[in-house]
């Protein structure tokens, strides 16, 4: 049951509540999902999990973590910006707008925040692969700045205040970033969420970051480091070869959305397409 509902006005205040055991609440699409005020739980042993016992929630709405601003060659996004606001913002890079739109329901996009999407650490997160590929960084309460990848390495990564991404409209921006999602139906859980950042020198891939979710790198989305290494410093291989090396690099397991073999295959195909799309954009 929920014990306390806090409404901090500052990040410091929010951190104090966290220290006494609270959980941050932004849009509510993750934390409140399945929590039923009228208690409609079927009572089946081993069935759906019930709400956590004695939980405090720290509602971040009052912190004003909204909006987007430019800072040098970066764009700084308030962590409580909704995914719909990001999808609608023409000043943001196309990959982020597209990834925000990967949440298939407008209702959910209106509620879900980018900070919440990161902090929820879902394997099939729509934003994390793109953010990792783009080299996104997080500004945390208390002054810490860390990459999205590092944030995921820490079990309780702290309160995200802002998200920094490179501004692809900045003069010094050299690469391209693209994201992809694949699911059986529009609202089904995805079997592919991936992001690629690529820089090329002529035909040669100079810099490459590939991140994928949906079990490709374990329970959390992550970078495909060995794959990046294999593909960097040479021209991009042909599509079939790319699929082969990607399939070998991803390690999804079987679940209700498909067998490991299928999931490897479809990730191979979609990520290969993404790499080719990036190269073609650079050419």
């Amino acid at each position: 049951m929920l014990s306390n509902f806090y409404r901090p006005k500052t990040a410091e205040e929010a951190l104090k509540y966290m220290e006494i055991g609270g959980t941050f609440l932004a849009g509510g699409t993750e934390i409140n999902r399945g929590v039923s005020g009228d208690g409609s739980f079927p009572g089946i042993p081993g069935g759906r999990a019930e709400p956590e016992a004695d939980r405090d929630l720290i509602y971040l709405e009052g912190l004003g973590l909204k909006g987007v601003r430019r800072e040098g060659d970066s764009l700084i996004i308030g962590a409580c910006s909704s995914l719909q606001e990001l999808a609608d913002n023409p000043g943001l890079p196309g990959w982020l707008r597209k990834a925000s739109g990967f949440i298939p329901s407008r209702n959910i996009r209106n509620m879900a925040t980018i900070g919440g999407n990161i902090a929820a650490r879902r394997s099939n997160s729509v934003t994390l692969p793109g953010l990792m590929a783009a080299g996104g960084r997080l500004y945390l309460a208390g002054g810490t700045i860390m990459t999205v990848e590092d944030y995921l390495k820490v079990p309780d990564g702290g309160l995200i205040l802002e998200v920094e991404i490179p501004d692809d409209a900045a003069p010094g921006y050299k690469g391209v970033c693209r994201t992809v999602k694949e699911s059986r139906s529009r609202l089904a859980f995805p079997v592919v969420t991936a992001g690629v950042y690529m820089e090329c020198d002529g035909l040669t891939v100079k810099k490459l970051r590939i991140a994928a979710g949906c079990g490709c790198t374990g329970d959390l989305p992550g970078r495909l480091g060995s794959l990046e290494e294999k593909l960097t410093g040479r021209p991009l291989a042909g599509r079939e070869e790319l699929i082969e090396v990607i399939e070998a690099a991803v390690l999804p397991s079987s679940d209700i959305h498909g067998s490991a073999a299928y999931r490897s295959r479809v990730n191979g195909v979609k990520i290969a397409d993404l790499l080719i799309e990036c190269r073609e954009a650079l050419l």
Binding site: M1, L2, S3, N4, F5, R7, L25, G27, G28, T29, N32, R33, G34, V35, S36, G37, D38, G39, S40, F41, P42, G43, I44, P45, G46, G47, R48, P51, L57, Y59, E61, Q84, P104, S105, R106, N107, I108, N110, M111, E182, R184, S185, R186, L187, A188, F189, I243, I256, G258, S259, A261, Y262, R265, V266, V269, K270
Partner: protein, 955 residues
């Protein structure tokens, strides 16, 4: 804590706990329109509100998150009884059928039109992306937006809905259903809106095992808990066996269950039921019940059920009310009394000692000769999966006492069967039970079965307390009525010229633990697929096995979608083997008006059948029109070399009720001012049946439909009707309304003749509600005054009963074009054309909506939806998203349904059924199109990308 916010323009302050769900709080605040379809999973959108001007799901909010916010619900769109322009446009476009989340749709479209004055198709898709609509297939939402945009420019613009029958005034013309204004305005029209504040809650402790005996159960701790009123287990429920199938008595389904049994036969089976004064107490009490199980091995497939040493699922005593076999005593010698009984009303080929719930075989002609004459024979097995009806309104019931009478507020398709079954279990006369069918927020077959009403009624009967029960979405999957998985082997032969010579069909169905519809669903798979073809030699056999999967029962289409998939796929395969164009092959072999259907004499659904003759038949028109629409002769090619495009065709049929088995009744009364009330036994489950009846009465009596009011679904007020299943509504219930209207006309003329002192032969009924003679005339108003006055002959009341032995069969042809991505396995439905004949479409816009809805639903069954069970029988897909229902983003790129105009000889004003048939085409037509695209045959649902890649040899 107090939560203060602005609700529909007014500041309110309401006491709430921090954990209270936002939807729940709004309902407490007097807003019924914010509904729960998915237990706050944020999928269905029934809980949509505008929060600070943006659409969100209230079920994902906690009460304190509303503090200081601006909340608007659909109630904000109306001014008194005046609904908004978007709601009116939705009504006029025919968007609203079951209506459960129509308020949510209205809010989403309102929001869209605030943002975009002239939305494009993709804007509408985006606006409704968070809405799950199972009834109407979304297409008419586009029409509604278009209608509103045009009306803003040209007030009075009318929706371009096709109309039929120039000689008729209201039948065949578009008109909003009588209930839709209330639905779209968010009024209280569903069962959950009837619950009194003092009502208790019923919650079920469900089995974690697929197959087990209850070794011991201790409810003492739960009973002692504050707020708990009663706990029921197998020890304190009546020793009465029944079937949950809502079928006419005597049912062809075996009575093989009690309210709560001592043996559990599926994960989710009833173990105990708690009645408590609060929902929280009921849930808490469930955890205090101590149960010890003797776990038995589960039987999960038909092969496992048929195995020599298979565990018996119904190992109890067999009892026959009629037609007991000679060896019954011998069969019962090894029965286990602790497993209960299986009571047959008459033989249906069951043998629980072999896990067989039902079986039958039959045929016409000479199969050996037929196959010997064939130049080409194909033989293949097709498999269909277990799928769920997923009504937006979950199964819900509210029971209470009025004096010594039991009142059941139900969301049911079968009020009269519900009354009968409940009275039987409780051991009371039917006269002591009243069932009030409220508006039904989606049924699709699953509300034909009595899944929770009987237990809730018993709880009220014993405790004397009003009791409310509503399934969770998870319970919808594990303790409901689902579509039976089937394996269907088809052998079909044809001569070189394409003429079919013989077709055999062997069906094995997985029934689940209880025998609801065990015989009739698989039989229906045969009876709605073989008779599409003109062939002299047919044979079929059907065996339904008890298994430990979640229960199965009826689902829109009944057995037809599965039989259709197998037969139409096999015909596609045969055409390929013959080197013949599939359209030509079907066209050569399909039935036509006048074709004698010999096979029907073997397909009587639990009784002896009768040879039928094809009457009105739109197949020819449907085949021609579809060919034209899809440009059948044009081969499409994708620019992407990995994407292959193909086209498919199939033909479909259904029935219009069960001739010789079922009955509809209605009573028409003339009121004091010459207007009319029709008491219809029909159960309108959102399809517009009440409006069908209204139009039939108005047409016959030559009056405005606004002068006719239909009261239906209340067993105290309206006469008996079999209910809404087997595509019977328009044909049977509408037929009864017509019979009552015809009788009313006779009575009106008799009374008018007396008053006008003219012979009957000189009188006629004229518009608007006038009897005209050669010398004089009298209005219905005056007639009512005469008949109901002190010297009158009494109020004019006209009953009408409808029974028939005639089969009026709706037909159709579906065409589609698919693109198959050979690298990802994804199938995209580029084009889908459904051409269907429903006789005279009495409500054309709702007929079309039901076709769109049925087709999209069956595209979902074909491509996405899947109840996945683990080896222990646990369902792993118990929410709508995991399960995979389609939504607006999954519509075919081009989607068009058209009614092929034929007039039936037997239906009211030439009408036949429309809804169920629509789900029969998608699987075979997509399978045939996939074959055309990539040369692989999909023989198992769903055609997931993984299965496509496997079939292509790429996995």
């Amino acid at each position: 804590m107090k939560v203060k916010f602005t609700l529909n323009g007014k500041e309110i302050s309401i006491e709430a706990s921090a954990a209270e769900n936002g939807r729940h709080l709004l309902q407490r605040a007097g807003i019924p329109s914010v509904r729960n379809s998915d237990d706050s999973y944020g999928f269905a959108g029934s809980d949509t509100i505008l929060l600070d001007g943006k659409t969100v799901g209230a079920g994902l909010l906690l009460a304190p998150m509303l503090e200081g916010r601006d909340v608007k619900t659909v109630e904000s769109l109306s001014r008194g009884r005046q609904i908004s322009e978007i709601q009116q446009a939705m009504m006029d476009a025919g968007c609203i059928q079951s209506g459960y989340n129509s308020p949510a749709a209205a809010l989403m479209l309102y929001d869209l039109l605030e943002r975009v004055s002239e939305p494009l198709k993709e804007d509408v898709v985006d606006a409704l992306s968070g809405l799950f609509n199972r009834a109407t297939g979304y297409m008419q939402f586009f029409d509604a937006v278009d209608l509103l945009v045009k009306r803003r420019k040209a007030p009075g613009y009318k929706a371009p809905i096709p109309e039929y029958r120039d000689k008729l005034k209201v039948v065949g013309k578009a008109a909003p259903k009588a209930d839709v204004r209330r639905m779209v305005a968010g009024e209280r029209v569903y069962v959950e809106d009837r619950v009194d504040p003092e009502a208790c809650f019923l919650k079920i402790l469900r089995s974690p095992h697929a197959h087990a005996k209850i070794f011991s159960i201790d409810t003492s701790e739960a009973l002692a808990m504050e707020g708990v009123v009663e706990v029921f287990t197998h020890k304190n429920v009546p020793d009465v066996y029944y079937s949950q199938a809502g079928q006419g008595y005597p049912e062809p389904s075996p009575y093989d269950r009690k309210l709560i049994g001592a043996k559990v036969r599926h994960v989710g089976d009833r173990v105990a039921a708690v009645v408590a004064e609060t929902e929280e107490a009921a849930v808490k009490a469930l955890k205090l019940i101590q149960v010890e199980y003797e776990v038995l091995p589960p039987v999960m497939t038909v092969e496992a059920a048929a195995a020599e040493d298979a565990p018996l699922i119904q190992g109890g005593l067999q009892v026959f009310e009629a037609g007991a076999p000679d060896d019954l005593e011998e069969m019962n010698r090894a029965s286990d009394p602790s497993e209960g009984k299986v009571i047959y009303q008459f033989p249906i080929g069951g043998n629980p000692r072999k896990n067989i719930a039902a079986s039958i075989d039959g045929g016409v002609g000479n199969m050996e000769k037929g196959f010997a004459e064939a130049d080409v024979i194909v033989e293949q097995e097709y498999e269909t999966s277990q799928i769920q009806c997923t009504p937006l309104e979950r199964h819900t019931v509210y029971t209470r006492l009025e004096g010594e009478r039991l009142i059941i507020h139900a969301s049911t398709q079968v009020p009269y069967h519900l009354r009968r079954i409940t009275a039987t279990i409780l051991g009371i006369p039917e006269s002591q039970v009243r069932v009030i069918k409220e508006r039904v927020g989606g049924g699709y077959g699953s509300k034909q079965d009595i899944l929770l009403e009987e237990l809730c009624a018993y709880a009220t009967w014993i405790t004397g307390r009003p009791v409310f029960q509503q399934y969770s979405r998870e319970e919808e999957f594990i303790a409901c009525s689902t579509r039976k998985p089937m394996k269907i082997r088809v052998k079909a032969g044809a001569r070189k010229d394409g003429k079919l010579t013989a077709v055999s069909m062997s069906v094995r169905a997985s029934q689940g633990p209880y025998g609801a519809h065990a015989l009739t669903v698989p039989m229906n798979g045969v009876s709605k697929s073989l008779p599409l073809f003109d062939c002299e030699n047919f044979h079929f056999d059907v065996t339904t096995y008890y298994t430990n999967i979640p229960p199965t029962g009826a689902y829109q289409g009944y057995g037809a979608p599965k039989g259709s998939f197998a037969i139409q796929s096999a015909m596609g395969e045969l055409a390929v083997q013959l080197g013949m164009d599939p359209w030509e092959f079907i066209h050569k072999n399909m039935v036509r008006k006048g074709t004698v259907l010999e096979i029907m004499k073997c397909l009587g659904e639990g009784r002896e059948g009768a040879v039928a003759v094809v009457g009105s038949c739109g197949l020819e028109g449907a085949m021609d029109r579809g060919r034209e629409l899809i440009e059948w002769d044009r081969k499409e090619r994708s620019e992407d070399p990995d994407v292959k495009i193909g086209k498919g065709v199939c033909i479909i049929q259904q029935g219009s009720g069960l001739p010789g088995l079922d009955q509809g009744n209605a009573v028409l009364k003339m009121l004091g001012d010459g207007t009319f009330v029709l008491h219809s036994g029909g159960a309108d489950l959102g399809t517009g049946l009440d409006t069908v009846c209204t139009k039939i009465v108005a047409e016959k009596l030559n009056i405005d439909p606004g002068l006719v009011h239909v009261i239906s679904g209340d067993t105290d007020i309206a006469p008996f009707d079999k209910g809404a299943y087997a595509s019977s509504g328009t044909f049977f219930s509408g037929g009864a309304a017509l019979r009552a209207s015809e009788r009313m006309v006779e009575r009106i003329l008799e009374e008018a003749a007396k008053i006008l002192e003219e012979p009957l032969s000189d009188l006629s009924i004229e518009s608007p509600g006038i009897v005209k003679g050669k010398r004089g005339e009298i209005s219905y108003r005056k007639l009512a005054w005469h008949t109901q006055g002190g010297e009158g002959s009494g109020q004019i009341i006209a009953p009408g009963a409808f029974t028939t032995n005639e089969s009026s069969i709706p037909y159709g042809a579906h065409f589609c074009q698919v693109s198959v991505n050979t690298r990802t396995g994804r199938i995209n439905v580029d084009k889908y054309f459904a051409l269907q004949d429903c006789g005279t479409p009495i409500n054309p816009e709702y007929a079309l909506g039901q076709i769109y809805g049925g087709v999209l639903k069956s595209i979902g069954h074909t491509l996405y939806e899947e109840m996945i069970l683990d080896e222990k029988g646990r369902c792993l897909t118990t929410d709508l998203r995991s399960y995979g229902v389609p939504t607006i983003g999954d519509l075919p790129d081009e989607f068009y349904c058209e009614l092929v105009d034929v007039e039936d000889e037997f239906g009211p004003y030439g009408a036949k059924s429309v809804s169920e048939i629509s789900v029969n085409g998608a699987a075979p037509v997509i399978a045939n199109a996939v074959y055309d695209a990539v040369g692989v045959r999909m023989r198992s649902w769903p055609f997931s990308p993984e299965r496509v890649l496997t079939a292509l040899g790429k996995l």
